[in-house]
């Protein structure tokens, strides 16, 4: 549906988008994820037509968008500030783009009501813009864009202005909305949890380039490098050595964890023998509470910090031979106790949890 071909865009001396190639499929929920300044918003605005690329091309629904103005593109955008017209009410806002179509009053009203139902704002037609809450404004922005029946809906950090509870609720609603309507959504966000929850595929961007484009699972389980791995979720890193790569597997020396052979898919990018970073997610480490608990690899450590989140507890554990503390997360299941700071405990993990990254 949307093809980005080596798109480049600079503002003065700043290279905001530095050669982006990607294909976004029809009907998918696609996210552009990255830290501030990585170029994701610029890229979105390039797709919308508010900026023009210096190099490269953008093709939407088979049409090259070179020289095509935003008001003629098959895209519509939900702005970060929602940009609801303050001097109009809800109905007038939602129906704004329909003016050209010269619909009869009844037809327009019907379309508006259909949209309001979709975003759960039925009956709000005459509410003035200034009387809306943040969440309501967002829905109006959605309705206003979707009523235009765009081929692609662009969302610029739509949830960043909402508080946590509302954000989580809207994430689910947006996902469902996209499934119901069936069109391509392209979402820009810096919140990796948000991207993971809602998207079919995610493009992680750093410094104007796409570092990895994959499904949430692949991105989480098999990040291509350290930068991506630490941006998505929490990752423990330790120093190790890659000894050799053979048909049998990959030989590594994982310090206090011992030497072992791991499978080739635990090395996302081919690396040379030598120093390497080994990553492991906190949930892959288990606290072995009783002596009868066993694991493939066992190490011992002392708890230096705990953080209680209600459903989970995160521990920082100092392990002999490892430079940094290890983050471990444990679900607070019934009967399971929480360790105190200073307690020594055994940690267990399986070798399939290790990732070799550079």
């Amino acid at each position: 549906m949307v093809e980005l071909n080596t798109v480049k865009k600079s503002f003065g001396d700043v290279l905001a988008v530095n050669g982006v190639d990607a294909v976004i499929r029809e009907g998918e929920f696609f996210s552009l994820l990255g830290p501030s300044g990585c170029g994701k918003t610029t890229l979105l605005r390039l797709i919308a037509g508010f900026e023009h690329p210096d190099e490269g091309s953008i093709v939407i629904a088979g049409r090259d968008m070179d020289q095509v103005e935003p008001n003629h593109r098959p895209t519509n955008m939900v702005f970060q500030s929602y940009a609801i017209f303050p001097h109009l009410n809800v109905e007038e806002n939602v129906a704004y783009g329909l003016k050209k179509q010269n619909l009869s009053r009844e037809d327009q009203r019907a379309r508006v009501n259909e949209m309001l139902r979709l975003v759960d704002l039925e009956g709000y037609n005459t509410r003035p813009a200034h009387a809306l809450s943040g969440g309501q404004r967002q829905r109006v922005a959605l309705a206003r864009a979707l009523i235009m029946k765009p081929k692609v809906l662009l969302l610029d950090e739509p949830l960043s202005a909402l508080d946590k509870k509302l954000r989580e609720q809207m994430q689910v609603e947006l996902r469902n909305l996209q499934r119901t309507v069936g069109i391509t959504f392209i979402l820009v966000t810096h919140d990796q949890e948000e991207a993971l929850t809602m998207s079919d595929r995610i493009a992680v961007m750093f410094y104007g380039k796409i570092a990895q484009l994959a499904t949430p699972q692949v991105l989480y389980k098999r990040p291509l490098d350290k930068r991506i791995a630490s941006f998505i979720g929490i990752m423990n890193f330790m120093e190790g050595t890659l000894k050799s790569v053979t048909e049998k597997g990959i030989e590594i020396d994982a310090g206090p964890l011992g030497t072992m052979t791991i499978s080739p898919d635990q090395m996302p990018i081919p690396l040379q023998p030598g120093d390497v970073s080994i990553g492991i997610r906190p949930e892959m480490l288990t606290i072995l509470f009783s002596s009868s608990d066993k694991a493939e690899i066992e190490i011992t450590g002392t708890v230096t910090d705990t953080a209680y989140y209600g459903d989970m507890t995160y521990y920082e554990i100092a392990v002999e031979g490892l430079e940094r503390e290890v983050s471990v997360s444990m679900r607070n299941t019934a009967g399971r106790r929480v360790l105190d700071i200073g307690e020594t405990t055994r940690l267990g993990l399986g070798r399939e949890s290790l990732l070799l990254l550079s």
């Binding site: 103005e69 303050p86 943040g134």
Partner: protein, 271 residues
């Protein structure tokens, strides 16, 4: 007003009397039944107001003032819209010096503006009339228009225009459907304030008017005739009331402009 030290409160009281003294005397003598502007007061009368209606020169001056006031405020508002939009939305070469120069009449003594314009007009052999006054007034009203409209444009969420385009509108449609309505209160405020400024302006009018005096110039010419003074008081009172109404309206619209345009981007964090 709690907590103010005694001496300060007394000072404020005296200062307020000082501020209001000349103004309060105006209605006093406008309704005073005496041909002399002095105490003691001699009774209440409307005759000075009635007398005004008969003064033909006054009516002519009034007509001129209206023409000048309306033209000057409309022109200065138009220029103000252009300059304010440019300053609020674009960054262009020489922006700072250009904008500073446009605001210059605020700090120049009016006599300088009047005199320099007079020089040019005389050199060019142009006859002094209502239009020369209008030109001078536009110069001094422009900074006010620009200031008011700049505030209005700056308060407008810049993404509103993009949203309008995104939804299919042309630039022209965006101007009429989004920008103009949101800036309208500022426009009205600028028109009202420009009109009031022009109505009261004396020096430039004095220098640049030919045989078509404006109201202040007319008043000036009357001040040396003691018999005309009560009539002048009555006129002044009418102008005071008119200014009050216009400026209150102007302030109302300015506040409305700020509220309307500003509220579009405030967040309320509760679903």
């Amino acid at each position: 007003m709690t907590g103010a030290p005694r001496y300060l409160t007394i000072f404020v009281g005296v200062y307020l009397v000082f501020l209001y003294a000349p103004v309060l005397l105006l209605p006093l003598f406008a309704f005073n039944d005496s041909a002399v502007i002095a105490f003691p007061l001699k009774g209440f009368t409307f005759r000075w107001f009635e007398g005004l209606a008969g003064e033909s020169t006054l009516l002519v001056a009034l007509k001129n003032s209206l023409i000048v006031g309306i033209s000057a405020s409309v022109l200065s508002t138009c220029f103000g819209v252009l300059a304010a939009r440019a300053a609020a939305r674009y960054d262009f070469l020489g922006k700072k010096p250009i904008m500073s120069f446009l605001m210059l009449p605020l700090v120049l003594p009016e006599i300088i503006v009047g005199v320099s314009l007079l020089i040019v007009l005389v050199q060019l052999g142009i006859e002094l009339n209502v239009w020369t006054v209008i030109l001078g007034h536009v110069l001094i009203c422009m900074p006010f228009s620009i200031a008011i409209l700049l505030s209005a444009f700056n308060n407008m969420d810049k993404f509103l225009e993009e949203a309008s385009l995104d939804l299919g509108a042309t630039r022209r449609e965006t101007f009429f459907r989004v920008i103009l309505p949101l800036v309208m209160p500022g426009l009205i405020s600028s028109l009202l304030i420009g009109f009031t400024l022009s109505l009261d302006e004396f020096i430039i009018a004095f220098f640049l008017t030919g045989t078509e005096p404006t109201l202040p110039v007319y008043i000036w010419s009357q001040l040396r005739f003691p018999s005309k003074l009560p009539g002048v008081m009555a006129l002044g009172f009418i102008m005071l009331v008119l200014s009050l109404i216009l400026l209150t309206l102007g302030e109302y619209y300015r506040k409305k402009s700020a509220a309307l345009v500003g509220s579009g981007s405030s967040e309320i964090r509760n679903g």
